[in-house]
């Protein structure tokens, strides 16, 4: 594959990479501490939780859905697994149970969307509240402390030079997600359903089943985030993860996925998560007032979404050149290939 072809088909990812480099250089120029190894590790560490959640959200968004419940799921799995770990359950079993809960909750959300025909926004808004409720019921509102070191070492142990297992877990999950999305039947259907659910159904695809699976896989990623978070903080709290769903969605949107479905990718989401975390840390490092940090973060989300619009307009214009006598339609983005 030649370079020009690569740039054309991965323009979004390349653009994000450039933005990431420029942003890092800018913050670094203002405060050299920003580019110190310690700070960069910090950014990457920060990015893992949002990033893991965003990886799962990528599937859901590409399929044309959304899941607002993932912040609550983070708390629910946090308190359940914290209780298990404190009770001395083996870390491996804790991890398996945590992921199973995530898969189950996701399947439930998917069921509401696919079989009960509820709008994803409303269905998962409901789930967001009752899952949070369960987390409080289980924990009684008290933080669960005293997570054994054996558990913490597995999910957030130091490997070398500040690189933690959590980062490695993030990378592994990202690779798995990428392969799932681009190289399996499940991934192909995820794009197709998000692109045109009816056409996909009429092609003989069991759309309902795959939509349930999309949510199950998506929320499983949040389960991994919950397991890692528990190791990082050492406490399980029912109030954890509030608003995290929005951060995850923001990372996915910055990464170039279309909220209308059918478009997006794991590489974009990973870059989006890094950009998001880098921005948050950067604003602190250069000394921007806390309140202004919110403003800046919001602006970046809007600008990123707008640049995606401009980009698709541009690719539509270039698609016109290649059109064989047909009225130009919205050209496809970084799908399938």
């Amino acid at each position: 594959m030649n370079l020009k072809h690569f740039l054309k088909h991965n323009s979004r990812e390349v653009g994000l990479l450039v933005a990431l480099v420029v942003m890092t250089a800018l913050f670094g120029a203002i405060n050299p501490l920003y580019v110190s190894p310690a700070n960069i590790t910090d950014i990457v560490n920060q990015a893992t939780i949002y990033g893991l959640m965003a990886l799962g959200m990528t599937f859901i968004v590409i399929s044309g859905g959304i899941d607002l419940s993932v912040g609550s799921v983070l708390a629910l799995i946090g308190v359940i697994v914290a209780n298990m770990a404190v009770a001395g359950v083996h870390p491996a079993l804790c991890i398996v149970v945590g992921i199973a809960i995530g898969f189950g909750v996701g399947a439930m959300n998917g069921f509401m969307v696919a079989k009960m025909n509820l709008q994803p926004f409303v269905a998962t808004l409901g789930a967001m509240s009752f899952i949070r409720g369960f987390a409080y019921v289980i924990s009684g509102g008290y933080p669960i402390i005293g997570i054994p070191a054996s558990y913490r070492a597995v999910v957030d142990g130091m490997v070398f030079n500040g690189i933690r297992t959590s980062v490695i877990i993030f990378l592994i999950v990202a690779v798995i997600c990428h392969v799932l999305l681009k190289h399996t039947k499940f991934g192909n259907y995820t794009y197709a359903i998000g692109g045109n659910e009816e056409a996909t159904r009429l092609s003989g695809v069991k759309v309902d089943r795959y939509k349930i699976l999309v949510y199950a896989v998506g929320v499983s990623c949040t389960a991994v985030a919950a397991l890692v978070q528990l190791g990082k903080l050492g406490t399980g709290e029912a109030s954890a993860g509030q608003g995290y769903e929005l951060n995850a969605i923001a990372a996915v949107a910055i990464g170039g996925a279309s909220m209308a479905g059918g478009r997006g990718g794991i590489v974009g989401t990973v870059l989006g998560a890094l950009l998001f975390a880098g921005l948050k840390v950067g604003l602190i490092v250069v000394g921007v007032d806390t309140f202004w940090q919110y403003v800046a973060t919001g602006l970046v989300i809007v600008v990123a979404a707008y640049s995606e619009k401009i980009q698709s307009k541009f690719s539509e214009a270039s698609g016109r050149v290649r059109t064989w006598g047909a009225p130009p339609q919205r050209a496809g983005g970084t799908t399938g290939d």
Binding site: V179, H183, T184, K185, G187, N188, Y189, Y191, A192, G194, G195, N196, E198, A199, T200, R201, L202, S203, G204, V205, K206, G262, R263, G319, R322, T323, W324, G325, A326, P327, P328, Q329, R330, A331, G332, G333, T335, G336, D337
Partner: protein
């Protein structure tokens, strides 16, 4: 001699690649019920849309009361009292009857909405139309007939002088049709001019004074309805030049002993009843009908996209239970939907992914999908269907309509489907691509596949079919063999006037 209300003068309307109306001129008298007749695509709706200000004519003008009245938009048309009664859209479902009637022209008193005055007026309108629902009823609680009444009430409220109906009875019950006719005659008595589009000739004979026939966008003539033989009316609607390209080039290849698909008494809630037919190996079975005859619904029902309420489907002599398109696909059936762009393919996918979409299991290599195998297969099949450009990485949405259709067909060839249901396969595509699709269909039946071709184009259905199923109002009105193919005959069945009803015909004379 007559009081001319509306005059169409030399109207041309050109759409990209198609002339919808050619030099159409005729007049409509004040207070008459005037029918617009013609086959699908003859230009009736286009003409109505021009009157209504939805389209502007490429050439020519509309005169109302002798004054130019070519409206720039629907709003202006409504302001001038020219109102169209839509099927069901155009009302806000969550609002009440009263709110809908007064939408945009609310009565106010001291700056607040005067509910009492509006309620009284709404009640008066509803009573005068013989409606029994309350002004406070919400639109979503009403049925289609009642929604039409609300629109008519609104038209009267807006002091309409011209009211047009486009196929108003297609989803009404017999009782509702009766009520509608009473109301239309009442509007007429009040001096309102009515334009009426319908495919149902008996309706035309019941309520219309005169009829204008359009054919291929040209005005054939205006006839007084009373005393006009039904046959003559039908004959004036057909007679389109049978296109040279819609014909079979190879010997017929139907194996009449081999029934691949047997449908018995299939009915569905979407609007088809008691559908019974056989499809043979190597056959192209045409399904003809006018808009609203239930052809698309029938295909979707057989394919499992909509539920059948009763009926039996047999494939190769074996009864099958098809509950979803997935079941149909597993039984090696394929459907190219009528609405290609919204249901036929996925916009965000390229040719490769669209072609492989229905058969991903074939490209499984261990746990993964093999892109290489898909690209190879897509290129192979693309060559077979003569896809231009035959590039697997090309986005389907950027292809021409004809090539998009080839991608949809290629998708089903990839699944090795033996029964293909092609719903309006050549709709909206140019002549060259049409003949390519025809050649492809012929090639496929020669390979032993069976094809159902749904089409509203008479020349196409006559030129390509081995037999023709004619539908009217959700039912099969005739199944014709090749010797019986005749435009007038087919259209007679399609408008619901069976040729076995000589009395009806002579009565009309």
């Amino acid at each position: 001699m007559q009081d001319v209300h509306i005059e169409f003068r030399n109207i041309d309307k050109v759409f990209p690649g198609q002339q919808a109306l050619k030099n159409v001129s005729f007049t409509i008298a004040r207070g008459e019920v005037h029918a617009l007749l013609g086959e699908n695509g003859a230009g009736k709706s286009t003409l109505l849309n021009i009157l209504q200000g939805v389209f502007t004519p490429t050439r020519g003008e509309v005169l109302i009361d002798g004054k130019p009245a070519t409206f720039a938009n629907v709003h202006d048309a409504i302001g001038a009292g020219v109102i169209k009664v839509h099927q069901e859209i155009n009302l806000v479902p969550e609002m009440t009857v009263m709110q809908n009637i007064f939408l945009g022209c609310e009565v106010t008193k001291y700056g607040v909405v005067d509910k009492r005055a509006m309620e009284a007026e709404t009640q008066r309108l509803l009573t005068s139309l013989g409606c029994r629902f309350s002004p406070d009823a919400r639109i979503r609680q009403l049925n289609v007939g009642e929604m039409q009444m609300v629109q008519i009430a609104k038209a009267i409220h807006l002091r309409a002088s011209i009211v047009s109906f486009d196929e108003p009875t297609s989803s009404l019950t017999d009782r509702e049709v009766e009520t509608l006719f009473q109301v239309i005659l009442r509007l007429k008595a009040d001096g309102i001019t009515i334009l009426y589009i319908s495919h149902k000739l008996d309706e035309i004979y019941r309520i219309c004074d005169r009829a204008t026939v359009l054919r291929d966008g040209a005005c054939i003539g205006t006839f007084p309805v009373a005393g006009l033989p039904k046959e003559r009316l039908i004959r004036s609607m057909v007679g389109r030049d049978v296109a040279m390209f819609a014909k079979r080039h190879r010997p017929r290849c139907v194996d009449w002993r081999d029934v691949v698909l047997r449908v018995r008494n299939a009915s569905g809630i979407t609007g088809f009843q008691d559908i019974t037919f056989d499809l043979h190996r190597g056959e192209i079975l045409g399904f003809f009908g006018l808009v609203g005859a239930g052809r698309t619904e029938t295909m979707r029902g057989i394919f499992g996209a909509d539920r059948l309420t009763s009926g039996v489907i047999e494939l190769y002599g074996r009864k099958v239970d098809i509950k979803s398109p997935a079941d149909a696909t597993a039984q090696r059936m394929g459907l190219a939907p009528e609405n290609r762009k919204t249901q036929g393919f996925v916009k965000v996918l390229n040719n490769l992914d669209n072609i492989a979409l229905a058969s991903l299991d074939k490209f499984q290599a261990g746990p993964f999908q093999s892109r290489k195998a898909k690209a190879e297969r897509a290129r192979q099949i693309g060559e077979k269907v003569n896809l231009t450009p035959n590039d697997p990485a090309f986005f389907t949405t950027n292809l021409s309509g004809g090539n998009q259709q080839k991608v949809v067909i290629a998708k089903w060839l990839t699944t090795d489907a033996d029964i293909l249901m092609l719903d309006e396969p050549t709709k909206g595509i140019d002549v060259g691509a049409k003949s390519e699709i025809y050649a492809l269909m012929e090639e496929l039946v020669h390979q032993g596949k069976a094809i159902i071709m749904v089409s509203g184009e008479l020349p196409e259905i006559i030129g390509m079919s081995d037999r023709i199923v004619v539908m009217h109002d959700g039912r099969i009105s005739a199944i014709l063999t090749q010797e019986e193919f005749d435009e007038t005959k087919i259209l007679t069945y399609a408008v619901g006037g069976g040729v076995d009803e000589p009395e009806a015909l002579s009565q009309a004379q």
